[in-house]
Each structure stands twice: as structure tokens, then as C-alpha cells.
Symmetry: C2
Subunit: 157 residues, 2 copies
């Protein structure tokens, strides 16, 4: 008898055992969100970290590379590669800090800000796509709850 009518009537339902776990839902929807955004960024030859770096620079002004590392929690070596690519494409400028010449000060260019604006629009598009089943009020509630969960995670003191 095998999987009989279960496959016919309910074609590929997710196991309730998993659905009842918020951990699972969080992980699954999060992965979808990440994947979709990453895919849109990839079309422009960008990665998620690129957007994060641009956002940090736009929000808080120029950073020494070392500060970007601490703020975003990336490996210094990886950050070097990110800023390298962003600089090559003209989205940021790097300059030796005249006071402490070990440091490299990173600044967003106008092109970088313009790019960031587009990326935010992409992110909102993903959001609209994914949160389609929720009303505006529900989306605000979800955002608020997620924000509090996020604030509680290690890495955002």
C-alpha cells in the first residue's frame, strides 16, 4: 500500500512535526529571504556583504576597515576582499589614514549611495513577495517581533 492516497490528496505536504517548530519556520523563511535577495544581488555581481558594507558606510559615515570588521562581524581578510571589489567598481573609495597610516579609511561614493538605494528597493521587492499573505499591520507586527529577536542575538549588544 505504500504512500497511497497521501501522495494523491496531499501532494508533498510538509511534516507537521516540523511546522510546529518556530525554529523550523524561522530557518526556512529566513533561508528563502536570504536566497531571493542574494539572487537579485548576484544579477548585479554583488553579494550580501557588499550591501551590508555600503549600508554601514552610508549610515555611519567613513570607517576604518577595522571598524567595518567589528561592526559587521566579518573576518578582516574577507573584508579586505569586499572593499577591494567595491572600490574596483567605484562604489567606495579607500585612502590611507594620514594620522595612522596603518589604517585604510573607506568612504561611500555617490555611485555607492545610488547603488544602495537600488538594493534597498530590491530588498523591499523581496519583502513584498514573501510577505504577500500578510496585511500591512501584520507585517509591522512581524517586523517588530523579529527586530526584538534580532536585538537579543549575540553580535548586536
Amino acid at each position: 500500500m505504500v504512500s497511497e492516497e497521501s501522495a494523491a490528496t496531499a501532494p508533498a505536504a510538509t511534516p507537521p512535526t516540523l511546522l510546529e517548530l518556530s525554529t523550523y519556520l524561522l530557518s526556512r523563511t529566513g533561508k528563502a529571504a536570504r536566497g531571493r535577495l542574494a539572487e537579485r544581488l548576484a544579477r548585479r555581481g554583488l553579494r550580501l556583504w557588499d550591501m551590508a558594507v555600503l549600508a554601514a558606510l552610508a549610515d555611519f559615515g567613513p570607517h576604518a576597515q577595522r571598524d567595518l570588521v567589528r561592526r559587521l562581524g566579518v573576518d578582516p581578510s574577507d573584508m579586505a576582499k569586499v572593499t577591494d571589489r567595491l572600490a574596483a567598481d567605484g562604489y567606495v573609495e579607500r585612502a590611507r589614514d594620514t594620522a595612522d597610516r596603518r589604517r585604510v579609511s573607506v568612504t561611500v561614493t555617490d555611485a555607492g549611495r545610488a547603488l544602495l538605494a537600488e538594493l534597498r528597493a530590491e530588498a523591499r521587492a523581496v519583502q513584498d513577495e514573501m510577505l504577500a499573505p500578510l496585511s500591512a499591520a501584520e507585517r509591522r507586527v512581524l517586523h517588530d517581533l523579529l527586530g526584538r529577536v534580532h536585538a537579543h542575538l549575540p553580535g548586536a549588544p
Copy 2:
């Protein structure tokens, strides 16, 4: 003088530009959830798919491997590896389907059910850890909202 007070007063705040994106929060919290659960499973030598397979078998009874593939949306080749490991550890049993001998019917063993119960407990522990800042009522709301978002994703018709 260094990066002065920015590093001192606000040590590594996440850029608001990112925080205002639900996409970002979803992706970040989801990654944390996934990572923590995966880490607990790894201590037992298991991966996330192992748990998903056990859950599917426990919830819906024996599956032909091909049905597991469709239900969970994994590559057939990868599913073979998962059931192989689970069978080696005695959590599932595989048997050729006598009606259609191409098929391999997979069944959970008692050991598998016992393991799944432990894994669910682990998942709830992660949940309690991550959702600590939320009240019980808020957790229910979050779960409900995420459930609706999840149901709307492609892959769960």
C-alpha cells in the same frame, strides 16, 4: 584618537538601513536559528535533512524514497545518502518494494522515533533561547505569522 566615541559609545551597532528591512531580519534570525539547530544536531553526527526525513516518516508513515524526495524537495542523489546514513545508524529501515522492485520503501524504526523526540526537544530549546525576549503570546503570534509566510512559499502547495 582612533575611531573615537563611535566605537566607545555605540560599539558596533547594525546599520539602520538594514534593520528596517524585514528581509534582513528574516534572513539574519533565520540563519541564527538554522545555525544553532544544526550545531546541536552536529553534536550527534546528524544534519538538518536527517531530522526532516525522520519527521516525514513519523508523520506520514513509510515512503518510497522517491516520495521523500518530492515531499522534502531534495535531490534524489542526496536523499540516497541521507537514508543510507540513517539506515546505517539504525534509525530507518529500507526494503525493496515487492510490488515495484525499483522502489525502496523507507520506514522509521523505534530508535528513529526516539531520536526524533530528542531532536524536537533540541529544537524547542533553541526556540526558547532565541525567542527569550518575547512573551508566550508574542511567540504564538510570531509562529502564526511565520507559518502563513511559509505556507505561501513555493514548495509547500
